[in-house]
Subunit: 482 residues, 2 copies
């Protein structure tokens, strides 16, 4: 006997509220530009507005939508605002949001080929497309020995690359016997902190991670890398992994892949190339020099969820030899065995990353590529780079500001000449204004502002207004200090 009410949302209600939510999102994008970019709530303020106890009885969806506006929205820092210039972006776009919606609606779990062949095959296919779109070396395509997979983040991709390196060099014995504390890894002083995290997770120990010096552009110094490797070999250690970055988080520095790659090849080290944000620039032939030498790498990743208008999470991780990755991460318990896997004719992506289960993330990437076309994606990348360079020109031309690093693409690192404390106050006041959101870093021990031009909807007028506000706020601050 079915009771009258089975608590599920009826198809009619789903259509009704689904439409309401689509409209809410469309409205949100039409007004997000006018909202304060950085949320202004105080710690604990959102929780105070939430009921202490979960509801015993279900509540109408209208009430949830009301709370969305009244409780949640004030606690949102608007990553989708065209005035978001902080960190690296986490871009959404219309086709991507719809791809994520479809993924949720289909609700498939693609741990094995057989648990939804389309989830695996579309992913392989779209990652091969992306390899061509970025002109990656052919070895990273699935029709060779390599292939691509979607990971959640570049952090996870770095971890998988490091683990593969660890196993390759020890003949897969670390998986069996554990680390012995002799493996060493190399990054630059500017490499993303995720590699340090990965070295710790992998049981290799932070003391075995070398932070190689950088040159005046904040790019890894290959000579210093070679020397560090040599010192470790002399000490009886086993160098195994280098992470080079194409567009560091601090300043968008470009490590020299070819020189680093030659060292890695000569020395037998795994080279992972992290192009999290800037890899996307290789869509445009004129920016492909950033990946020069990538054919010497063992793995590469970039994040469409940063600069390619594809909702977080979507990191594309490529390996030149998929067997190493799979052998490093593979587990096959009885309850996952199936004919397709045993045939060897299919990819089971569960062996390509840490989690077992996986969403159908290729849909959103497919939607984005098809909606924009290669042409549309290139158009926006070029515009963003042009806007950043224009902004950099304004900084250079201004008497009271200076660039703090080269601007190879779309990130501008700059500072007011009045010193660290002044720049710190300037940053706070700018962000408190709500009109934009910038973040900072330190370069050469100095406090530096970062302006990243990469948000889906950022146009020239937003960058112009940002510069106007920065100058005006700096003038105000300077006047107050007198």
């Amino acid at each position: 006997m079915e009771p009258k009410k089975d608590y599920h949302m009826t198809p009619e209600a789903f259509r009704l509220y689904g439409r309401a939510l689509v409209d809410w999102i469309a409205d949100y994008y039409e007004r997000v530009e006018d909202l304060p970019v950085l949320s202004r709530v105080k710690p604990g303020e959102i929780r105070e507005r939430l009921p202490k106890d979960p509801p015993e009885q279900g509540e109408p969806f209208e009430k949830i939508m009301k709370d969305l506006d009244e409780v949640i929205l004030p606690g949102i820092t608007h990553w989708q605002s065209p005035n978001f210039f902080a960190y690296f972006p986490a871009n959404a776009s219309g086709p991507s949001i719809l791809g994520e919606l479809l993924s949720a609606g289909l609700g498939v779990q693609g741990m094995l080929w057989s648990t939804s062949p389309a989830c695996t095959e579309l992913e392989t296919h779209v990652l091969d497309w992306m390899a061509d779109m970025l002109a990656l070396p052919r070895k990273f395509r699935s029709d060779g020995a390599g292939g691509g997979v979607i990971q959640d983040t570049a952090s996870s991709a770095s971890l998988c690359a490091l683990l593969s390196a660890r196993e390759r060099i020890t003949g897969y014995r670390t998986n069996e016997r554990g680390c012995d504390g002799r493996l060493t890894a190399y990054v630059s002083t500017q490499t993303h902190s995720s590699v340090e995290k990965a070295v710790k997770i992998a049981g290799m120990g932070r003391e075995q991670l070398r932070a190689v010096a950088v040159d005046e552009t904040f790019a890894m110094d290959p000579k210093a890398l070679g020397e560090a490797i040599g010192r470790d070999r002399d000490a009886g250690l086993v160098p195994c992994f280098v992470c080079a970055t194409v567009g560091t988080t601090s300043s968008n520095a470009l490590d020299p892949l070819r020189e680093i790659g030659r060292i890695c090849r000569d020395e037998g080290l795994w080279l992972h190339v992290d192009g999290a944000m800037s890899g996307t620039a290789a869509l445009c032939p004129e920016f492909r020099h950033i990946l020069d030498g990538l054919e010497l790498a063992d793995s590469f990743c970039f994040n469409p969820h940063k600069w390619m208008f594809t909702n977080f999470d979507c990191d594309c991780f490529y390996v030149a030899d998929r067997e190493v990755l799979i052998r490093t991460l593979s587990i096959l318990p009885e309850y996952l065995k199936n004919k397709a896997t045993e045939s060897g004719a299919v990819i089971d992506y569960r062996d390509w990353h840490v989690p077992l289960g996986r969403r159908f993330r290729a849909l959103k990437l497919w939607f984005v590529i098809r909606h924009y076309g290669v042409e549309g994606l290139r158009y926006h990348i070029r515009r963003h780079v042009a806007m950043a360079r224009e902004f950099a020109g304004w900084v250079e031309a201004a008497e009271d500001f200076e660039l703090a690093a080269p601007v190879p693409l779309n990130l501008v690192c700059f500072r007011h000449l009045a010193g660290d404390e002044f720049n710190r106050m300037l940053l706070d006041r700018l962000n408190e204004s709500g009109s934009l959101f910038l973040t900072h870093t330190t370069l050469d021990d100095r406090f530096v502002l970062r302006l990243c031009v990469a948000q889906t909807r950022t146009e020239e007028r937003h960058v112009e207004e940002a510069w106007r506000l920065i100058r005006e706020t700096a003038r105000e601050l300077a006047a107050e200090e007198k």
Copy 2:
């Protein structure tokens, strides 16, 4: 100068296609019951239907929607079919799909409290709600020393638990110096393979993982655990981690938490409890005995994305002492520093898991809890358990079938009496019929069919029809064999 066309999806188009997609999903749920559950495509078949090259120019959304029906849908194994009885489920529901849509629309990245306070605070709040809803020990709540976080999967939760155990017992020295090959970990022979994967990732080595014997219900034998720990201590090793399971993947066996917990407490080992699917049953007071002894555990996880109608991915991971987890995984580079973090008044969830970035996953969990209410969630859990027990009764009453394991909740392990090969053929023929999808395991070295009653929309008629088809197919097969 803006060109006429900027390639973005216009707000009007987003409303139009968003509605079309919401309707497509609603239609899908109305017909999914009639689709063959397990996809029938052959390896490579989906890729063959996709164009070799990515589109140079953008394509109309109508064309993408058309390919959804013609190219993608045949390659889908329908996890949202009420006839899906395989593995453990990965349930979606109306409110959950809408929560995921909203998360994609807002597009915030919650790595830090300040990068969207609502993303962090709603997560903490809803995980405290869940702790109360499952009657977890108070120590797992955020207002004590512990707290909860959403991870992608139970695999990642196990890894984080293992890493915390590794660091706690070595005084955080493994993070610094690397593993020394002396740490040992303990699971049962029935524990999920993700723990073996985690032990390898963590650099501890599979040879240091002990698979403890189970009793006749396939639950871990605490005496055997104690002995294994003792043997390792005698050998000069350092026991550090036990994973107990509440509802194993193979047969839903319930490890005796209290006895295992006492051993862990006496011996100073970290106890992680994996309740990936079955933890949800603790919503109902009559099933809470499955978590008896959980107060002796250091960490616990369960997956609303399995049995609580919340789209994959959503694993709730709780620790009793959050400082250990944070100290294990924390990294704080300059570019992530901010006032809120420095104040110490906020949670930065980036330090609670492997990835740095994170989606606003609490939204879907919040939507589900509010839509169903505790009452509605309990209603479905009770129905699923009742249906599974009824099915188990039919198996027991049948002359030619037998149960292969106890049925504590909603998973039935059973087999035809005619032997492994017969059961294997039976499984294949059933799945080829398209009318349902079952998977298998081995228990006591015998091939066993698994029927998990947990899909959001499974009703009695689906379970009845499954049993009818199983019996009929077995009779057909038996007749053919004669």
